[in-house]
């Protein structure tokens, strides 16, 4: 065999080895099927709770327990999120220093658009949540961003959710491998066990909805984000989706990531998508 042939064969073999190692890291977009996932997800919950109507799932633990449901109905007479709602409405309509408003950053002036978030930004190639969009709007207009965990963000999103009440979640996954990858990574995050307690999101919200963890009745994962943001009696205040995710992590003894890190954005994308068709019920109130 000539030296040249030997070199060519060696290079080809080396290339094959490289390909073999690289192959597992290539994202297999063709294997991701959000439509089938959402169908199976809903079927699982509808069969687990055959007495519930689909729209009941957005009421979280209240749909799981008759006594809690009665308490909730009474609570809704004077809802604890009302102050946040009023503050959010005022903040939303108050112009920034440059004269523009939040409405200028959103379709339909930001009214009745909650059900479309998170959305996938094809230019950026990433998931954009409502909380992130609000802070980007602030920054684009020369205002400092709000904390993702505190009252101002909760009030703003409470108002925007309220203007979308009853509208079904309508999350879109464009035919873009990056969007499918974000969705798939969100799914992976949802089912991955973490923290010293070795819990995944699914441990509580798929395997055990309706069961108690100490005094809490666990909500089903289906429709869990439709009620966000929420007033939690346990927190004595409002909480954003970011606050919910980070608190979940620390409760299972995991160090929370930074709010709006890719993992949280992706899991919100996944969870919202599989609840497509269920109505927005936010802002919500939870024990």
């Amino acid at each position: 065999m000539k030296l040249r042939t030997k070199v060519q064969l060696s290079l080809a073999a080396f290339g094959l080895v490289l390909l073999a190692f690289a192959a597992p890291s290539v994202f297999a977009a063709d294997k991701v099927d959000p439509v089938a996932d959402a169908k199976a997800f809903k079927k699982f919950f509808y069969e687990k709770f055959p007495k519930l109507k689909p729209e009941d799932f957005v009421n979280g633990p209240y749909s799981m327990n008759e006594d809690l449901y009665k308490q909730w109905q009474e609570k809704e007479q004077f809802p604890p999120y009302e102050f946040a709602l009023e503050a959010g409405k005022e903040m939303f309509s108050k112009p920034f220093k440059n004269g523009k408003t939040y409405g200028d950053c959103f379709a339909n002036k930001g009214i009745g658009v909650r059900q479309d978030y998170p959305t996938f930004d094809e230019k950026e190639g990433k998931v954009i949540t409502l909380e992130l969009a609000l802070n980007r709007c602030r920054e684009a207009n020369g205002e400092p961003p709000f904390s993702y965990l505190r009252d101002e963000m909760a009030s703003l999103t409470a108002y925007m959710a309220f203007t979308s009440r009853g509208k079904p979640f309508d999350i879109k996954i464009p035919n873009d491998p990056r969007a499918l990858e974000a969705y798939e990574k969100g799914k992976e995050y949802f089912y991955t066990r973490r923290g010293q307690l070795n819990f995944s999101c699914a441990t509580c919200h798929v395997q055990s909805p309706g069961e108690r963890v100490r005094t809490e009745v666990l909500a089903p994962a289906l429709g869990i984000l439709n009620a966000m943001p929420i007033y939690r009696s346990e927190w004595s205040g409002m909480g954003t989706t970011s606050r919910r995710f980070t608190t979940c992590n620390s409760q299972i003894r995991g160090v929370p990531l930074t709010p709006q890190d890719d993992e949280y954005r992706n899991v919100e994308y996944y969870l919202s998508y599989v609840s497509n068709g269920l109505p927005i019920s936010g802002p919500g109130a939870r024990p």
Partner: protein, 105 residues
């Protein structure tokens, strides 16, 4: 006679002090090694995006014992922190595949 007793006693005392000082110094070294190992493992867990709160609190406890001069407890805590960090690494690594076992299909 008195001197004969006192001198060996002093020598023994010095020996004990020296030995315990040496032992203490050894413990501090041991602590530093154990703490560095725990920190390295916890950093690896961070790259896997899976640190545990208990690793951080056990590392903090180790440091507190060390600051108080209790290197025995400090070393024990640092070793415990390393074990916790390694468990979180194992969890993150094994979950790369295992998460699918929980998936609704």
């Amino acid at each position: 006679m008195r001197n004969r007793t006192v001198i060996p006693a002093l020598a023994l005392l010095l020996l004990i002090c020296g030995a315990s000082a040496a032992a203490a110094a050894g413990s501090e070294e041991e602590y530093k090694t154990a703490y560095a190992a725990a920190e390295a493992a916890n950093k690896q867990a961070a790259t896997l995006r899976n640190q545990w709160t208990t690793t951080a609190s056990t590392l903090a406890a180790a440091k507190k014992f060390a600051d108080g001069g209790d290197f025995e407890k400090a070393t024990a805590s640092a070793r415990e922190a390393e074990a916790l960090a390694k468990a979180s690494i194992f969890q993150a690594t094994s979950e790369k595949e295992r998460w699918r076992d929980l998936e609704i299909r």
